[in-house]
């Protein structure tokens, strides 16, 4: 299941209804991404204040559904969930939740990490950070590309 929303979500509520009463599930893996109040770059004095996530309504949902379908094609999953927020967020705010349920823990972990890695390079979200040095659009990160690339091998022929 996919949800894109500006409102906050409650990971406990999501988890409580995730895969409920499905006794084929042996493991649930859940990831929550938060706005970090860290230095903007290593070695920098800049701090992140708020950030605004812009997205492409319609295409975002389409890409997330595609990523979810790809995960379910690759791993034996009993349930999947992606909740992604947009709009202005403050340090400590939740941004994204990804959850997977599988008979086996390894599949749950791999699929969950795959979902967040692909989402970060494929779902049309753009981030503008408000830092102590001013506001700026964040550039795509090489580390995100590398994380996504790892999963490329198993990709379906397109």
């Amino acid at each position: 299941m996919i949800r894109v929303q500006s409102e906050d979500f409650d990971p406990g509520v999501e988890l409580a209804r995730f895969g409920a009463d499905n006794h084929a599930i042996g493991g649930i893996c859940l990831f929550v991404g938060l706005v970090r109040d860290g230095a903007a770059e290593a070695g920098s004095d800049e701090r992140i204040g708020a950030m605004t996530l812009e997205h492409y309504p319609g295409m975002t949902e389409r890409e997330l559904e595609r990523i979810e379908a790809e995960a379910r094609r690759r791993w034996p999953l009993e349930a999947t969930l992606i909740v992604h927020r947009h709009g202005r967020l403050l340090p400590g705010d939740r941004i994204v939740l990804v959850a997977t349920a599988s008979p086996h823990r390894k599949a749950a972990f791999e699929a969950c990490e795959f979902l967040i890695d692909w989402l970060k390079t494929k779902a049309p979200f753009w981030k503008k950070e408000e830092t102590t040095a001013g506001a700026r659009w964040v550039e795509a990160r090489q580390s995100d590309e590398a994380a996504a690339e790892r999963w490329r091998k198993g990709q379906a022929a397109e």
Binding site: V35, I48, M59, V96, A123, P124, W126, K128, W137, A140
Partner: protein
């Protein structure tokens, strides 16, 4: 056709979306960009560095040689960036 912009491309283009009716020989994304750059300085600046521009036609990622036609929704945006986690 409908053109939509996101992130800094929206700021440079000076608007989030615009309806355009390019001439008939504007038949793919590359030609559309060339035509848009001639329309105003905002577009010229938005498309100055194409290495940082991604394109979707009807909400599907495409390359510059992808055809465009009346009725299409063509989106221009930078490479995507998720949260910092």
């Amino acid at each position: 056709m409908k053109i939509v912009y996101f992130a800094w491309l929206k700021e440079k283009a000076g608007r989030g979306e615009v309806q355009v009716s390019p001439p008939a020989d504007v038949s793919d994304v590359a030609a559309l960009i060339a035509w848009l750059k001639l329309q105003d300085a905002g577009h010229a600046s938005a498309f100055a560095d194409m290495s940082a521009v991604r394109v979707a036609v009807n909400q599907e990622y495409v390359k510059l040689d992808h055809p465009v036609a009346a009725g299409d929704e063509i989106a221009f945006f930078p490479p995507v960036t998720g949260g910092r986690c």
